[in-house]
Symmetry: C2
Subunit: 344 residues, 2 copies
């Protein structure tokens, strides 16, 4: 009998609401016969906040934690001051649920036009640390709104937190082309950079088949444009990973094709799967958003739960869809239906 | 009678040594009759450090300060641990000489092939803050090399430091297409980001003709690839500026065409001009490096000293050279001679 998994669904804001149902449908169809899903919907995001001031109430967070995995749409709304929802909801979940691996594959699909004239065969994964660095929320301001204001942001990095994500990257590289590129800025951020580099050296000794190199973040942004096919696994911190994955999204023809997993690799808490695009208020509610990234995040969820074959079905359906119809103008629902129809 | 200016020359490492003489020659030729230059050479960089352990001795720094401007080649050598020369020499000069504007134009020259298939008309300037942020060197490590190590990096931002660079950006925009884009990550780095945004609002009131908008750093890396011609003046902090300008360099066909000025806009201390490329140890000593960026940095130096026409002569010579010969394989000396010959 098929096992039942409990999925917390947080559609969030803007196009998040339009793409998430397609992720659920893809999940259902791909895992048919193998797994069943029950869904618990959470009304979190801008509208809830504007209505009653709640961002992530404690009891709802506890209920989210009781699920096996989380599907998230997108968070963010121009009516709300930057940072409130991001830090109070999205980052709070990533941190509280100790989702220390932010896994973000970048692949140039056949049928998608890259903005690069010579993109080559792009297929890499960014392993972004998800619970440390400049995202901790450490820092503050004194004499705010005066000419003497000082504002700080503190990047906190621990050997504990870095070593586990380094190890994840090397393990992942073993299943891929066996190359890890550490990206940091160790010539300026010498404390954190040096620790990252030392831990990469240490862990790499356990994976003699995996080669590794190092690039400064500025150089990495160059190579993403000039030679993106050189990368296999990119390992980096929270902020650099944010930057590189958006640039990578652009290079593979748009963030509409990029999914991500916020993974708690010890399974102490549920992992969370989301498209890397935002809530896109400019096109929200118009049935225009591309649900592909959300559907791909459902595949990542399935893979995380151990359903590799079901995940591969979604990946194959997406690949075939893009190859054949990627260049056509379609609505959210059309793309969703087209991909669904291909899930064997 | 032509006034004489004292220029400190720091060729530095690798290809820095090969390209800097061409910058000097361009300076001389373009300013002929208008200005004369005397040069004081400083033997600073990897070789000096390996020889006698000196990075930037106090008396030499004082002598550098006594000059009217500085020409720098490049700093960095794989034999030396990352950070030592960067922080001890390059960043020390930027900070001690209070070079708070790091000015980095990006232009797609006719004759250069961008890696983008549809680059459009790229012509923007990044105004990068140069004396604050994560580059302060604040931070440290405890329990280094143990499983309990914690490493921090602190970004320090002051209203004093930010407001002056914001004002510089708006003034520059007035001489250009009158648009400023603030790039930050204010949805995560709420303390610093909020201060930057408030100071932009404040200063923008003094420049009603200049429009301004805001992008998160991750979104900006997308637009640099998908629509780089939208930008006029990009205003950002030290780290984001480092990242964006390298990506921009790639987008305009390579950092070999990108110069930069580390500017003390109050002229309390000399400003410093340098190509944005590094020391490129892989091609050093082979007469292969492109001296164009170094030559363009000489034009920036001239403009800074008030010789706009002489600067324009260099810019025009470079533009003509690239348009006609940009796609040919030439040695350092050939490119240098070709450009020199065009300086009217
Ligand atoms: C919305 C924002 C806080 C978030 C981040 O910076 O991590 C987003 O850009 C992402 O990449 O998931
Ligand atoms: C060498 C390094 C310290 C420097 C920087 O990060 O500023 C360089 O990348 C640059 O952009 O000038």
């Amino acid at each position: 009998m098929a096992k039942t998994y409990k999925i917390a669904v947080i559609p969030g804001d803007g196009i998040g609401k339009e793409v998430t149902p397609w992720a659920q449908q893809a999940l259902e169809k791909a895992a048919q016969g193998e797994a069943e899903f029950t869904y618990e919907h959470f009304d979190l995001g801008a509208e809830r906040y504007l209505r009653d001031g709640a961002i992530l109430p404690e009891d709802e967070e506890e209920r989210i934690k009781a699920n096996d995995a989380i599907l998230l749409g997108a968070v963010g709304d121009p009516r709300i001051k930057a940072g409130i929802l991001e830090r109070g909801l999205l980052l709070k979940l990533r941190f509280d649920l100790d989702q220390f691996v932010n896994l973000r594959p970048s692949k140039l699909y056949k049928g998608v036009t890259s903005p690069l004239s010579n993109p080559g065969d792009i297929d890499f994964v960014v392993v972004r640390e998800g619970t440390e660095g400049l995202y901790c929320g450490a820092g503050g301001a004194v004499r705010r709104d005066t000419p003497n204001e000082v504002a700080t942001e503190v990047s906190i990095n621990t050997a504990y937190g870095v070593e586990r994500v380094v190890r994840y990257a090397f393990q992942l590289a073993m299943k891929r082309r066996k190359h890890v590129t550490l990206v940091h800025k160790k010539n300026v951020l010498v404390n954190a950079g040096d620790m990252w580099q030392r831990l990469v050296e240490k862990v790499s000794a356990e994976y003699p088949e995996v080669t590794h190199d190092y690039q400064h973040i500025d150089a990495a942004t160059i190579f993403l444009v000039s030679d993106p096919s050189r990368f296999d696994v990119i390992l980096t911190d929270n902020l650099f990973g944010d930057i590189l994955t958006d640039e990578a999204g652009a290079v593979v023809g748009g963030v509409g094709y990029s999914a991500s997993g916020c993974i708690n690799a010890t399974n102490e808490f549920p992992s969370m799967f989301e498209p890397i695009h935002g809530s896109a208020p400019d096109i929200a509610g118009q049935n225009k958003a591309n649900p592909t990234a959300a559907i791909l995040s459902a595949a990542m969820l399935l893979r995380h739960l151990g359903f590799d074959e079901a995940a591969a079905k979604i990946d194959a359906a997406v690949e075939a869809d893009i190859e054949e119809l990627g260049s056509t103008q379609r609505s959210t629902d059309e793309v969703g239906r087209d991909i669904l129809a291909r899930i064997a």
